[in-house]
Symmetry: C2
Subunit: 199 residues, 2 copies
């Protein structure tokens, strides 16, 4: 695209990741009008991390956390989004995502490719505090959207209270200050019929 080879690689990568805007998730917008895509979802998570920073454990590196949230779904360009509550769709997910990471991050200059891939691997490995808090936000956002959309993808797929509790568990662990509110939203959603109450 341009004469400067390094900048050319970077711009090629930036054009490539535009495709994340075409990867649809099961979750809908809060108004229920359509499914959301993984690019706008990533924006929502990064904004959420800024607003809810005070609830996270001390010592979180926020710059790294937000960069992680911005890139955590990029592999879905090749691998697609596997619906969290669908065990079949998650078979082979890890292998598909590894191949995707290899192809997509390698568009960048080598040291940037390594840096972004490491950030993504860190998110997947779920061992650092930043990865755990990022995963917790990645659970909280669909909770808000499904609740706002009067059930959204929960209702579309007949998701139960115990499934949602299992799915939200990273919030209990990594953003415990928010957990009572999560339980409250789940209870109200069960009462309203957005979630099937199997309690």
């Amino acid at each position: 695209m341009v004469r400067d080879a390094r900048l050319g690689q970077q711009l090629t990568f930036l054009v490539e990741i535009d495709r994340l805007k075409s990867v649809l998730r099961q979750t809908t917008l809060c108004d229920g009008s359509r499914h959301e895509n993984s690019a706008e979802h990533s924006w929502h998570l990064a904004a959420m991390a800024g607003i809810l920073a005070e609830y996270a454990p001390p010592g979180v590196d926020w710059t790294r956390l937000i960069r992680m949230l911005l890139v955590h779904d990029i592999v879905e360009i090749d691998a697609g989004d596997a619906f969290a509550y669908d065990a079949t769709a998650n078979v082979g997910r890890v292998e598909r995502e590894q191949l995707a990471a290899e192809r997509i991050f390698s568009l960048l200059p080598a040291e940037q490719a390594t840096e972004l891939r490491d950030l993504w691997e860190e998110f997947e490995a779920q061992t650092t505090i930043e990865a755990k808090v990022a995963a917790a936000f990645d659970r909280l956002q669909p909770l808000l959207n499904n609740y706002s959309a009067r059930g959204g993808s929960w209702r579309a797929h007949g998701v139960t209270r115990s499934q949602v509790l299992w799915r939200m568990d990273p919030i209990r662990e990594s953003l415990p200050a928010i957990w009572p509110a999560v339980l409250q939203i789940i209870s109200v959603s069960c009462e309203a019929g957005y979630i099937l109450d199997d309690a």
Copy 2:
């Protein structure tokens, strides 16, 4: 939504800004398949800022820059996106956006409302280095998308080389290391008929 009043305000704000996913811009996706929305555009800018950080002047506060990019378009939820090359659409824009900022940021607890509004005002005022670099990325991204989409919104609106040069000028000023590549993309786009060549 939840018993904790402060967290409730924050979650209400996070649900409200979901509407940015429904604000359409003139720019299309890189594959030209549809117009992009302001939420996924904001994600693309924040990712771009991470990848192209090395071209910015020294001393930029990257955490503040990325937070600015994440919130810079939120006022469009009420005010809409005014097409950059349409003078009529820009009449009254400042007043509409001020009213939008007042309503939307005020959903947050007071000190967070002030913090985000200040970030947005800083972007609009274009006096700090972070605001200038943010604006430069905000020009570069549509250039990449229009070029990739074989003209995109340039072609749809008969935009000329001198208009694009005027629009891209913040890049020349704040990301000068990228400017030669911008000129190259504009030249190729004129040759290809994506931009009307009035040179």
